[in-house]
Subunit: 487 residues, 2 copies
């Protein structure tokens, strides 16, 4: 991507270095096991990271085999990025050293800055001033930094045995920006097991320089990011406005999903004590999200369910959902859940009903859901989908697939994927079960079809596909149900 | 348990044979791979099932090594239970044969009865008449029958490679009754991986004899069942009334949770076409559940989250929740979720706040949540819990535990379990993450502490502990928040 473009209030100059640094120095590298200064060195000496690694600490000559220098000035080559893990009180001196070396990207993971009170805030102001003077960018302080699953830049100082790292997918990827470092780590760990492709996770901490807004603009132009996700506890007045301005431009191109905590009063009080954010009125935030075309998720599970669908499938052009299933109960539960989020589940029109009756066995239930019944094989799904997709009756297809019965072969995977490709409409699979079902779901997802364990999760995903269709296509989006809000 | 007791409308005589049959005949046993008649034989020849197994089919001399007889009369020993897998039209003849043998428990898995129309209904009436005349009990027809994880009775004809079987736990177990056979199978498969102990799963099908009501009474007296769960799509008018009468007696002793589908209009139409149940008005059902002390869950995920907590923990005596966490963001999200379900998250009273301030490091946030901060070790949880549980300030404890950081050792597991035992109050753990976290959660659950991946799931569980406290303790339950409904 091209660097250095400026949009009103957005500063994206130099951000690329954080994700694609070809040489990294860890300032405060340490030989002490379990220390932050050692954990970060450990990440960069993994063979996947192909750049150069330097350690900085006057105490050592080397750390884990990495050459260690008393200051930046002794490092023989150029340094694209520095990770600072030193006590806050010496951070200004360290920043000055980094500035003199000419390095432009700095992640300050240390705490002890504005989050602790006026003294810490002064130290934070000092490092910001040095950065501004020398055209440097800072992520943090008080954060865990950045994971990039492509370049293998990884400053998360949590040991891998406790905190798995997510992986990119060949289909589509999500990037996530988190105000909370602990959540950034937990999400990295969690998403490593969810079948979600992750491109970048960024922990912002105190946001003394790089903020939500800068990253929104950067990620909007990042080819490896298909969906942008945020966890936030609040905005400061100025940054908030600029963020929503940027979002208005971005959301017509890429989906943006936000989890904002602090809905209730007690939670807002807790948020304010946690990061010092002014959580503000939650209704104001809701309205701002809606206006900016940002999708607000109630919680992380919903966020990941939505992001998976939005990263793999096209947005819907209307809210009419067709369900085809081999489980009657699953059909009923899924209908309930789709109606609860405000989507339409209209019955097939007479001409379609007639065609379905002619081509499916007599004991199938030709409504919506189309119940192809427990003894269905893949070709019965094929018939139902072929008929139902001839004509513009439906905007989203949910295939309910119970794989406990041996009559349904794994070729249903192909059938579903092929009808998706031909129809270009968004498809979702619901498949409830244990290890065989989970494996089948992974295969579906390799083919680009998002798969969910329950009708409720699938409905949240379907809602997101419809809501993003509404955002993207505006008036061309056809609304059938009374409301399209999933609350 | 003692057999043969009768309560108004409830018939529990002979039910025990379905779960503890010491000898089983499979009527319609088959040598054809993937057939129902073969799959059931396969289940009973597994070494875990210690009873005698016979096959019945005039075509064969043996099926998978099991001796096969032309009719029941040739079987040399007694037969406690028969599983019937023959075409509906010959079912009456088969029932007569079973009756003459003197067998009292029959599971009819075959379809083709009342669910298909008047002709099938006639066949169903015929087999019911034979059963009544001979004092036999029938489960089904049109069902997958029974799994008992202790006796290893297992009539589910889904192959194990696709449909895992659940296991009992040493801590506490759940039994589940499902109207839908496909769901019964999917739930068996799904719960095999959820860390839930399962005692029995029963698929009722057309309920021509044994119904929800009979099983409710039976399971209420079953020592291996701590929580009773139902999936239903509706009740017939008479059976419904009797079920709710029985429930009023049971729910003060054991928690009963129901998922009833068909909330919306379209879903009710689908339910009616699926099982022929009159789904009726959903609001009427809601009121009946509430009056009978039955907990209604919106979906299976909620049901399992609730059942896990209710099976492992005592009910709460009030709705005041304390959160202790090492993740500020997790605390905020959990507070949000608890407030959303209508529970109270009151701040510590001044005397407790003072004690906490004295005993915890200055940078901990002494509110509710108590944020013991990212560098907390287990003993910091110990201090916080010890102080907070001296005095009757809280009714439920939620421990938020982010395990990505190496500073928190696995001894936190012991700390939490010990405070639960000492305080006798219900505890829940929230722990978000990947494989290390999942393993730690399994260990927590072996110690009897239910563990959840998100604050939302934990809140649904906490709500169930409070709601069941309200049901069990009546007026003694102390309500603080305005409402205790999780919708």
């Amino acid at each position: 991507m091209s660097e250095g473009y400026y949009v009103s209030g957005v500063k994206t100059e130099g951000l690329d270095l954080f994700f694609n640094a070809k040489s990294v120095a860890i300032y405060g590298a340490s030989v002490t096991p379990n220390s932050v200064g050692q954990a970060i060195v450990q990440n960069f000496i993994k063979p996947m990271y192909e750049g150069k690694v330097y350690a900085v600490n006057p105490k050592y000559r080397q750390v884990l085999g990495v050459p260690c220098y008393p200051s930046m000035q002794e490092i023989p080559g150029e340094v694209d990025m520095v990770v600072v893990a030193v006590p806050a009180r010496i951070a200004p001196r360290v920043m000055q050293d980094v500035a003199e070396k000419g390095t432009k990207a700095v992640i300050v993971v240390s705490g002890g800055f504005s989050e602790t009170g006026p003294k810490g805030a002064e130290l934070e102001d000092e490092i910001v001033e040095i950065a501004k003077k020398h055209g440097m960018r800072i992520i943090g302080p008080n954060c865990v930094g950045v994971i990039d699953t492509h370049s293998h830049v990884d400053t998360f100082f949590l040991p891998e045995y406790r905190c798995n790292r997510p992986k990119p997918s060949n289909v589509a990827n999500i990037s996530l920006v988190s105000q909370s470092g602990a959540f950034a780590a937990a999400i990295a760990d969690w998403t490593s097991e969810l079948g979600l492709g992750i491109s970048k996770i960024i922990s912002l901490g105190n946001k003394c320089d790089v903020d939500d807004d800068d990253l929104l603009h950067y990620l909007a132009h990042d080819d490896t990011t298909q969906v942008i996700c945020y966890y936030t506890e609040g905005y400061d007045p100025g940054g908030g406005r600029s963020f929503f301005e940027t979002a208005k431009k971005v959301t017509s191109k890429k989906p943006v999903i936000v989890v904002k905590s602090g809905r209730g009063e007690r939670a807002r009080a807790a948020a304010s004590s946690h990061t010092g954010s002014l959580a503000g009125s939650d209704k104001v935030a809701d309205a701002a999200y809606k206006q900016a075309g940002i999708i607000r998720a109630d919680n992380f599970e919903h966020m990941f369910d939505m992001a998976k669908a939005l990263s793999m499938q096209p947005p819907a052009r209307g809210d009419r959902v067709l369900i085809v299933t081999n489980g009657g109960g699953l059909g009923v539960m899924t209908t309930d859940a789709l109606e609860a989020v405000g989507l339409a589940v209209p019955p097939p029109p007479p001409e379609l009903e007639e065609r379905l009756r002619e081509s499916l066995p007599g004991y199938c239930a030709i409504h919506n859901p189309i119940d192809v019944v427990g003894d269905a094989n893949a070709s019965r799904y094929d018939i139902a989908l072929k008929e139902a997709l001839q004509g513009d009756y439906y905007d989203i297809v949910v295939a309910g697939v119970l794989l406990q019965t041996p009559s349904l072969g794994m070729d249903v995977t192909n059938v579903v994927a092929n009808h998706q490709r031909q129809s270009k409409k968004p498809f979702i699979v619901v498949s409830m079960g244990g290890s065989f079902t989970t494996k089948a779901g992974e295969i579906m997802q390799l083919m680009g079809i998002p798969t969910y364990a329950t009708g409720e999760k699938a409905s949240v995903a379907a809602w997101a596909l419809a809501r993003y269709g509404e955002i993207k296509f505006g008036r061309e989006f056809k609304r059938t149900a009374g409301r399209t809000n999933h609350k």
